[in-house]
Subunit: 470 residues, 2 copies
Amino acid sequence: MSRVIVSGTARAELRAALTEGDLLDSSEDLERYGRDETEDLLHAPDVVVRPRSTDEVARIVRVCTEHQIPITPIGGRTGLSGGALSVYGGVGLALDRMNAIEHIDEHNLQVTVQPGVITQVLVDAVAAKGLYYAPDPSSKGSCTIGGNLAENAGGPRAVKYGVTRDNVLNLEVVLPSGEVIWTGANTLKNATGYDLTRLMVGSEGTLGIITKAVLRLLPLPKASRLMLVPFDSAIRACEAVSAVFRAGITPSALEFMERDAIDFTLAHVEGITIQVPDAVQAHLLIEVDGLHEEVLLRECEMILQVVEAHGCGEVLFAETSAEVDALWRLRRNVAVAVKAHTVYKEEDTVVPRYALPQLLAGVKAIGREYGFRSICYGHAGDGNLHINILKDGLSDAFWKEELPKAIRELFTLTVSLGGTLSGEHGIGLVQRPYMDIAFDRAQLELMRGIKRVFDPLGIMNPGKVLPDMD
Amino acid sequence: MSRVIVSGTARAELRAALTEGDLLDSSEDLERYGRDETEDLLHAPDVVVRPRSTDEVARIVRVCTEHQIPITPIGGRTGLSGGALSVYGGVGLALDRMNAIEHIDEHNLQVTVQPGVITQVLVDAVAAKGLYYAPDPSSKGSCTIGGNLAENAGGPRAVKYGVTRDNVLNLEVVLPSGEVIWTGANTLKNATGYDLTRLMVGSEGTLGIITKAVLRLLPLPKASRLMLVPFDSAIRACEAVSAVFRAGITPSALEFMERDAIDFTLAHVEGITIQVPDAVQAHLLIEVDGLHEEVLLRECEMILQVVEAHGCGEVLFAETSAEVDALWRLRRNVAVAVKAHTVYKEEDTVVPRYALPQLLAGVKAIGREYGFRSICYGHAGDGNLHINILKDGLSDAFWKEELPKAIRELFTLTVSLGGTLSGEHGIGLVQRPYMDIAFDRAQLELMRGIKRVFDPLGIMNPGKVLPDMD
């Protein structure tokens, strides 16, 4: 497929399809909707449409199907795998105007939302009623529920509360045919036919367009405790992670930061003052939450025993909400800090938790072999290690020719440890060339077959997730 | 498709495919493998094969594909929707000899098992290492993990720990082509391609044969408390259910039993002596579990306040393990007791939790309208109401001609309340005629398309889940 220009006729039909929404085609707008947070990539759509209703989405899709125009759904543009980039031009379907929280059901602990709702806005709205929407990707202040569903976003709390996929009950989807379906039912259990709901989650806009979601809510945890645990050895820090769970505790977050990640962040983010002794090589950020204050204190003591048994340094307990905020800002701003420092590539490897030390050691060995520096951090509690590879002084030639070989080695190691390419960022555009490491032909053919069932013309977010047929 | 007789040639090839496993074709064996727990149905396969390895399964499948012989995977034969019945004869693929627990991974809290492992055997094996496999269908003493995966089995603990689908990480599957794949990775998070794992779970053997599973384990809860709460009104009991969750508590079980369900069980099950005052119309059986004894006592007090506010009678707390066993036997034997009393049909409706009172009232109204008696009980915590319709003195003509209309009304009500046909039993054979109530043509066409991608010849468990094409 080559870049698709939207004809004057199709453009007119798209305008006609939009009774309330609007169409943008200024070069500024196209460029704005042609970027997300993935490296420095730009793939602008030929036209941006911003519908306000499911009906409008369905009408737009019918126009695109008729003219075989690629459609790229666009959410908060915070993606890290390029899922929202319009690599073949065509129509960028921005869902930012479909941002209503339609119904907070306090009796059934569920909420019905449009896809353009910003995750933090939803979290705050339900918190006001004493309820909790658990998934909290680091970009929660600007990412949207639709994007979270498309990429199966995670975040620090996934280790206790699951990823987006685990917190969705039912989805309204516009199919490439223009038909509108619900994928399931608004129930906690469902053994009725194939699970279209969880198939849609994480399909990155390649099967259809999510126009409404019924999400599961929980009672808002009443209290939490946060601690920062330093280690002189990154490997020992990783080993302590498994031991915490083995002790019977499920933290609401268990994050890992390499020394460099901390230094970068302290250097680039205002207003965080934490003294880090020279010997410290890594930090664990551990949070517990629940209903009962004194239980949390007890669990903190149990965690303390475990991490001390693994040779940690002096543990910092956040005493004030300001200290809590500072520690979370430290963790959430690592990527920002790295980005401020240099061009970089971020990998989103995930392995069984206990394999983290092997993965980390392997990443460093591959870095030494190829001559790149990496900064590793992430959600150690569920084995999800973000690997930021720094360009620094490396040549463009190396970045283009050699680095992909190193990444291939890195993913091959990840898969050999029982892991896979992406824990929460999705495959999108940038990890697509590596899908053959995680899946052989039989699995990819099944996925391609499913894609054809939903999208026979191949207009839904082309160039994403599945490698080209060979 | 009509009943398929396995030719002598195919039979010889099947024997040749079985180097360790065996082939059964005596009428006794065929009848035994032709029944599960669904009503009094019998659909015998023409041949039963009992492989001992994934290799043997793959070889058997290739023979069946070559000769276009239907394959019906058979687990513990405890199913309640007829999923394991060989409605078109052919090969009954019994997985009872593939029952190894291959590896309990104490570091990563996961276990690798073959599909023929009996659920209780797995639960006991991991408990011996201080670990917990949470899903506990009522038939756990005889059902198998493979069957649990095929039907997406639930059970009382699903309300806190999720159904089978929520506790699986990765599956080895033999495709109808004879190819062997893994569906995902052994990780807690996965955003790498389409979710084939959760698509396989609940597909009832219609897409392929699960030959191995990597399941998630948890630390074994250290303590639990169980209470039996009587109500003079079944509706008020149902209303109390939502209030318990709204209070911030997530019980490890929250079961509902109508008065009749209790009386039937007390009459038909030995050794349970519980005094039930005449005024009592329903019971809630509520369990909390966790790490800390005194937290459980506190939660019991909180629950007590909620149920008393809803007008419950005198609450019975189980003080000894004998009392705990008696209460669970009371709950788990309801279906057994009903079965001992009369022929019956069991529906597995599920709705958003707060809609339970409406569903219950509707069921009774439909019963009055059509003149049948029903006994309702189930997993109220996740809105899953089992409805046993008693044949008693009803005529065969009514049972055959009129009852399906009543069931149609019952499912129509369920779906109108945001619910669906099955919460944990699956669609299998007996609920298939009602799929059009839950799904319209567009959704069913997607499911059929997915079925064709996996099973182009339609030999995998034909006659199940999806209604015939019209």
